[in-house]
Amino acid sequence: MFAHLLRRLGQSVLVLLAVSLVSFMVFRHIGDPTISLLGEDASLEDRQALVSRLGFDQPVPVQYLHYVGNVLQGEFGISYRLKRPVTEVLAERLPATLELALVASLVAVLGGVALGVYTAIRREGWFSRALMTVSLIGVSLPTFLIGIGLIYLFAVELRWLPSFGRGETVKIGGWTTGLLTASGWASLVLPVCTLALFKLTLIMRLVRAEMLEALRTDYVRFARARGLPERRIHYGHALRNTLIPVVTIAGLQIGSLIAFAIVTETVFQWPGVGLLFISSIQSVDVPVIAAYLLLIAVLYVCINFVVDLVYLLVDPRLRRA
């Protein structure tokens, strides 16, 4: 088991190197950072001088090695656009994204599993049918459309909830949290719904399908024949056996919740790393883009690692191996 974890760790390092290399090759094609640094009306001489100051005139492999060397020393550079150290800017923005993703994952996983089990057990009930129909909307509508729709309904028409921002935040050490104020929670509702809806319906449909499968298996039939209470059959046996694929999907989904929070953050002006990333792309702020991509890769790697550990908890067979 220990060897297994070590191997995963080694793979993770390779993944990070690959991500940084690919992102470096892409930078060439996202535009000229001197436009945002010097404005549209700089002279060609000034532009050229800046390009060589930043080292963009060097071959990509040289730039890449230089970058990796700096990163290994913990040096991510200064944001071209914001004129501040990249690590500081990311650290400032990360809490907003993590809180949003965390709440959205909880809603998606808990809601998805609960509704999935419900629709599997009460397969023929009208509420289950209604849920299944509504869930089709969840998987088929694009995120930004759902976000805008929610804003128009709940912010413009009903005026119950704010349309943008994070509300009031409280600073605890280096972490700003919106979870301690009423306006913070109010601001969370719409972005969380937008972000969680797709994942929730996905998990719900997955759990339902897996549950239906499990309920048809022999051991469930035997359990019924033995006269075990339905509750124990459903939750103690059937659900538990459906969890392996659910954990895999949920893990990947949490990673993509953080990564794809970009759209939700942009629609709701949520001041997280996703919004920062979009602004950075527009102004070709290479240090921030590079650090963001690395950060997302690290998060994915960590989540996959945790998923591996959870497998061990859920499936006793893996523990013996």
Binding site: P33, I35, S36, L37, R53, L82, V156, S163, L275
Partner: protein, 529 residues
């Protein structure tokens, strides 16, 4: 006892109401946040707009484009035509209470000329800035520069002692490791001072009690909350839901609807920005065309055919929904040197255009790529699509290649395009700026950086270079007229239209539209609902 309580609470409520009438908070939104609060760091509209609340330049421009005094009360050319003299306003206080003197002005102009400054291009002609007495500053330019004060409207004055005490004598450069103090702090002389700032989230300003302009400006806005909102639909929703009072960067499709809303006011005005097409007129063959070995655009007849094929009025009506002013010259009307006589464009005439193409040897037209930005100007990509269909009528297959401005601008700076849509504003309000950037031969003597047309006319270059050192106004104006005549005759650019700006706000607010798209909240008036 009860009664007494009631009276006191009524009184308290009355007092609160009185205070509410006095304190006017305006929540202001636009599409992006300023990158930094350093007024010398980046030359972008959003940054300068924020700086105009916190800091002030020596001279400002009113809504009609005329120079007006700000921190300088008067300015004049000295007998030496290379030296401008500025008399400073007395009794101007910085936000920390210290008084403005010539030392601050000299320091600020030098800081704005530093290699790491984003504003240095505007001060490229400066040789030396010197203090004469505590309230007089002289600027020596490298040659006579009649329009030097025009370059100063966005050069902000900072506090020299404060900058030195915080070790921020020069703006942040990209390699530095320490954050510059100006990035998130300020000590200006402006009508507002900074209360708090969260990037991309909210920035709060309050009126500066010691502002010198008290009594001269309305100053009715006491608190200003800036909340950038990137998504256009959310921005409009925030105004409709009452979470925002004033919207800059109003999405064009929403303007008609916002105008109908009785609770809102939409102000409209011309913007200092012309949208036009650039053509590769150089002798070398085209790179993005199916014509091999020669350059059809080098033939004036082909350029004229393009000019005739484009229906500018249809673009205004169908693409811009009326929100543009079609034009025949690549400078808006308030720019010095603009003449009504130049501002003419032909009525679209496909038959005649086709005839000209045939005369030029292209009876069946040709194929060419039209490079276009898709995130910079109002409806930029849609304009290109319309242009493509107009050209299609005369047999020219223009393939639209739309891309973000970061890529588009880079291609124009590298002259890596043959046919492109571009926009240009004139911050100096003088034609020389247009000639320097768009007409002069590309990349010669530091001029012509954004001229991707390959047009090169040594005689015209000499005339353009002469403008910056001409000390006789009449001669200079004559030269401007002559240059425009050539530019219009040669048709290296096909002007399309001037953009129009819209601001949407709650009914009680009234903020006029500034051609440079800078809002001055000290001038805003707040009525009773």
């Amino acid at each position: 006892m009860m009664r007494k309580l009631l009276v006191t609470s009524l009184l308290a409520a009355g007092l609160l109401q009185g205070a509410a009438l006095q304190a006017e908070t305006v929540r202001w939104s636009r599409s992006s946040d300023a990158a930094t609060l350093d007024p010398h760091s980046v030359n972008t509209g959003t940054n300068i707009n924020i700086s105009h609340q916190l800091y002030e330049p020596l001279v400002l421009r009113d809504i009609a484009g005329k120079l007006i005094p700000a921190l300088a009360t008067s300015w004049a050319l000295t007998p030496d035509p290379t030296v401008w003299e500025f008399k400073l306003r007395r009794g101007v206080k910085f936000h920390d209470g210290s008084l403005l003197t010539a030392d601050d002005v000299v320091f600020s102009l030098d800081r704005a000329r530093a290699p790491s400054s984003g504003m240095k291009a505007l001060l490229a002609s400066v040789a030396e800035v010197r203090k004469v007495d505590p309230f007089t500053v002289q600027v020596k330019t490298k040659g006579p520069n009649l329009i030097f004060p025009d370059n100063l409207v966005n050069i902000f004055v900072v506090n020299a002692a404060w900058a030195k005490a915080n070790k921020s004598e020069a703006p942040q450069d990209e390699k530095g490791k320490e954050e510059n103090h100006f990035t998130r702090n300020e000590n200006g002389t402006g009508p507002f001072q900074l209360v708090s700032r969260e990037q991309d989230s909210r920035t709060v300003f309050k009126q500066f009690p010691g502002y010198w302009g008290r009594g001269q400006f309305p100053l009715q806005v006491t608190e200003l909350v800036f909340v950038p909102i990137k998504s256009p639909a959310t921005r409009v929703a925030a105004l409709l839901s009452g979470e925002v009072d004033f919207l800059q960067d109003v999405p064009v499709p929403d303007i008609a609807r916002l105008k109908e809303d009785k609770k809102l006011r939409v102000n409209q005005g011309p913007e200092n920005r012309t949208i036009f097409l650039g053509l590769n007129v150089g002798p070398d063959p085209l790179k993005y065309s199916d014509v091999q070995g020669k350059n059809p655009l080098a033939d004036p007849k082909v350029r004229e055919a393009f000019n005739l094929a484009i229906d500018r009025d249809a673009i205004q009506k169908a693409v811009m929904r009326g929100l543009s002013a079609p034009t025949g010259i690549i400078a808006p009307p308030f720019v010095h040197g603009y003449e009504k006589a130049f501002d003419t464009y032909p009525k679209a005439n496909a038959a005649q255009a086709k005839k000209l193409l045939a005369e030029a040897g292209y009876p069946n037209g040709f194929g060419i790529t039209l490079h276009c930005p898709n995130d910079r100007y109002v409806n930029d990509e849609a304009i290109c699509t319309a242009l493509s269909s107009f050209l299609g009528r005369i047999g020219v297959k223009a393939t639209v290649a739309a891309r973000p401005i970061a890529l588009h601008s880079a291609a124009i700076n590298a002259a890596d395009t043959d046919f492109y849509l571009f926009g240009w504003g004139v911050p100096t309000f003088d034609s020389a700026y247009v000639f320097d950037y768009l007409v002069h031969t590309r990349g010669k003597d530091g001029r012509g950086p954004t001229n991707a047309t390959r047009y090169s006319n040594p005689a015209l270059d000499a005339q353009i270079a002469g403008l910056s050192s001409e000390s006789d106004k009449a001669k200079r104006d004559k030269a401007i007229h002559d240059i425009w005549s050539t530019v219009q005759k040669e048709r290296i650019y096909l002007a399309l239209h001037n953009q129009v700006l819209d601001y949407a706000m709650v009914r009680k607010l009234d903020i006029p539209v500034d051609p440079m798209n800078y809002t001055f909240f000290k001038n805003a008036t707040v009525g009773n609902k």
